[in-house]
């Protein structure tokens, strides 16, 4: 790496399904202000901006144009990247690259979504190939229902496993003041009362549509060492795409997740991920996906994640904390969702995660993003510089 980069400022808005009191620009301002305050910096200290969201969901065109004034980018360099669900993860990667390149000293990445202002499902429906299959797709729910069914069949996991994942998410979200759904769910039965979307996927198994924004300030080594708070060092990042011709049939493949994690872990000397990684924030749009994907990333063996879940091992105060923020099933402002994963890992490594702070000693954290036709972006952050 040409130059080390570190996260020195973290800002998040609060999230709701509707935030009618702010517009798209204003919701980004909230996150930018929070990040600057966290880093004890002024907007004048930021050299460049990396912005993104779901390109079609609010119906806005060239969203960065209107956003520029609200994020403080006027008179400064900026780039807009949009990679679907992984947008937030890509924003982080691009900010890391801007800083590591040596051209910019401090870069701000800003992701947001205001889903109530658009029509998410209408936007997502156009993902399918217009010539062949657009008429038979139904957005994300069908995909994750199939995934859940296959996982149950292959691993023997009983139907209440999805609900157990949700209970953990709810417990974590109640500890996170930024989470959108902080539900008082205490028993599996309560979750199982939620209606089926497509069996076996229930409403509470799936992520909500949220409005919110997240901003990160990434700095070069020299500036990071002057930062007010302890910098969180960026170890590595990777993107792997699976460009499936978009017929949503058959078993959803996890080849992208497997390849991303195995390459990332190999080149960073991680051979026992659950031991060497202290915390994981993974972008799982449904409870069932979270189980299968923990296996795909190599944290545990095929078909074993649900048993570890049964034993409660993924809670924030246990040996391998997964999504101590409550995860995507509690908070999902899409363009920000993946950036929040990075932000939450950074908070954990800094020891600033409040009531959701993991009890294990934080050393290295893993954050992942998922989207598109099966894309994974993953990052490794660490407390130590090397």
């Amino acid at each position: 790496m040409a130059r080390r980069a570190a996260i020195v400022g973290i800002g998040q808005t609060y999230h709701r399904s509707k935030r009618p009191e702010v517009n798209i620009g204003e919701i980004c301002t909230e996150a930018v202000r929070a990040a600057l305050q966290d880093a004890d910096l002024s907007i004048r200290d930021v050299d460049a901006f990396v912005v993104g969201n779901m390109e079609l969901f609010e119906g806005r065109y060239q969203q960065d144009m209107w956003q520029a004034d609200f994020i403080g980018a006027v008179g400064k360099p900026g780039i807009r990247v949009t990679t679907g669900g992984t947008t937030g993860g890509t924003l982080a990667c691009v900010a890391f690259e801007f800083v590591s390149s040596g051209v910019f000293d401090r870069v701000m990445a800003i992701g947001f979504e205001k889903q109530y202002e658009g029509d998410t499902r209408a936007g997502l429906k156009t993902v399918a190939d217009p010539l062949w299959i657009r008429w038979l797709t139904t957005g994300a729910i069908g995909y994750f229902a199939r995934q859940a069914r296959h996982y149950m069949r292959e691993t023997g996991a009983p139907e209440e496993m999805g609900s157990m994942v949700r209970l953990r998410a709810a417990e974590h979200a109640r500890r996170n003041p930024h989470a959108h759904l902080r539900l008082e769910l205490r028993t599996v039965e309560e979750v199982m009362r939620s209606p089926y979307l497509i069996p076996p996927l229930r409403q509470l198994d799936m992520c909500p549509t949220s409005e919110g924004a997240c901003a990160l300030i990434v700095a070069c080594e020299e500036k990071a060492l002057q930062a007010r708070k302890r910098p969180v060092w960026v170890k590595d990042w990777i993107t792997v795409h699976k460009e499936a011709f978009y017929v949503r049939g058959g078993r959803p493949s996890v080849a992208d997740l497997e390849m991303a994690a195995s390459k990332l872990f190999r080149r960073n000397g991680i051979t026992r991920p659950m031991e060497q990684i202290s915390v994981a924030e993974i972008y799982a749009p449904s409870t069932w996906a979270e189980l299968e994907w923990l296996e795909a990333y190599g944290f545990c063996g095929k078909g074993t994640a649900w048993r570890l879940e049964q034993e409660g091992r993924f809670y924030f105060d246990r040996e391998f904390p997964v999504n101590p923020s409550g995860g995507v099933v509690c908070t999902n402002p899409i363009g920000a969702t993946a950036l929040i994963r990075v932000a939450e890992v950074a908070l954990q490594l800094r020891g600033d995660a409040g009531e959701r702070q993991i009890t294990r000693e934080p050393r290295v954290g893993f954050s992942s993003s998922w989207g598109g036709s099966g894309w994974t972006v993953a990052h490794l952050l660490s407390v130590a510089k090397d």
């Binding site: 390109e55 079609l56 060239q62 004034d69 008179g75 801007f98 989207g371």
Partner: protein, 389 residues
Amino acid sequence: MRRREAMRVGIVAAAQTRFRDYPEWRSHELTYLAVEGVLKEAGLPFRDGYDEIVTCSSDHWEGKTLSDIEHGEVSGAHLGPGEVKVTQDGANAVLLGYLKILSGHARTVLVTACCKETQVLDPSVIENFAFDAPYQQLIGLDFTQAAALQAMSYMSKYRIEREDLAEVVAREREAALANPLVPRADPITVDEILGSEVLSFPLTLHDRKPVCDGACALILAHEERARELTDRPVWIKGIGSCYEPHNLGDRDLAEPRALIRAAGDAYRMAAISDPSKEIDLFEVSEHYSYQLLLWMEGLGVCPSGRAVHLLRSGRTDRRGDLPVNPSGGLLAGVPRYVAGANRVIEAFWQLRGEAGERKVQGEPLLALAHGTCGPAGQHHCVIVLERGF
């Protein structure tokens, strides 16, 4: 923005489709034509020949969310190099490819850009959604109207006439006669331009870039890798990008401040103090006729208000000593999103002496490529290139 001497990044190969109406191809098929061309030229295999991919396209113009599923697939992203999509003018995709290599995260990057403009029936509907929702969108602005306001502002400040704009169009169309890649290969007179349909006063049909389809692709590489791949690399010497304020009323539309700043950053990185003396040719993104004048001034080719006289002097012609848009520019017909990346490619070909009939005189050493997006040029990107052989 710092100057960097430590490592050089080069463009080693470039390819593009011809720009025209392509009813027979889908947009990502156009991208594939460009990818196939660039890989052949660089001698690299599909997918395994590069570490990262930067694509550039727009969901709105594709009529499809996540347009990079297809553009990524034909670029080799399936379980291969990581892909990222830039949703701005294509010059920014080149800029990101450059920074990726400088960061050490990639050694070789494939950059692609594509737009199939002909599949959009009414661009003003899309453009209107770029304006802020509470105020400017509601009054029905589109990019042509924003450009017309900017044109009026610029023309009244510097006493430019409609005839001067028509001369710009005629000049670009004349230059395009030497460019086999663009659709507008027919010359046009000033009278014909002035007599054509007024889109938004003072801009006529011919003052606006024509609609067309196409794609382009480039291979960028780290210095050592670049020298392995070609003995005629072109180095990226400087980059800059910058936003104007969004509200048209908050800007002095006659002064392209963001462009001045983006160019200033690029010149500082490239250690250029007088662009009009040191840079041998300029490829500028004029989406509308008046923009050629305004952007030339913003880039420091000449002082404010003087571009029209400089053009008339003939110095900026292909055979002049300060060539601007020997390709015919965007008015010759280049798709948006592709536009800035295509400026880079034109500059690359000129520096390599591969620009065919549109080749400038002598052996140019430094060239500038410019891209812009947003209403009335709200965002600019400037890239300075240097012949590396």
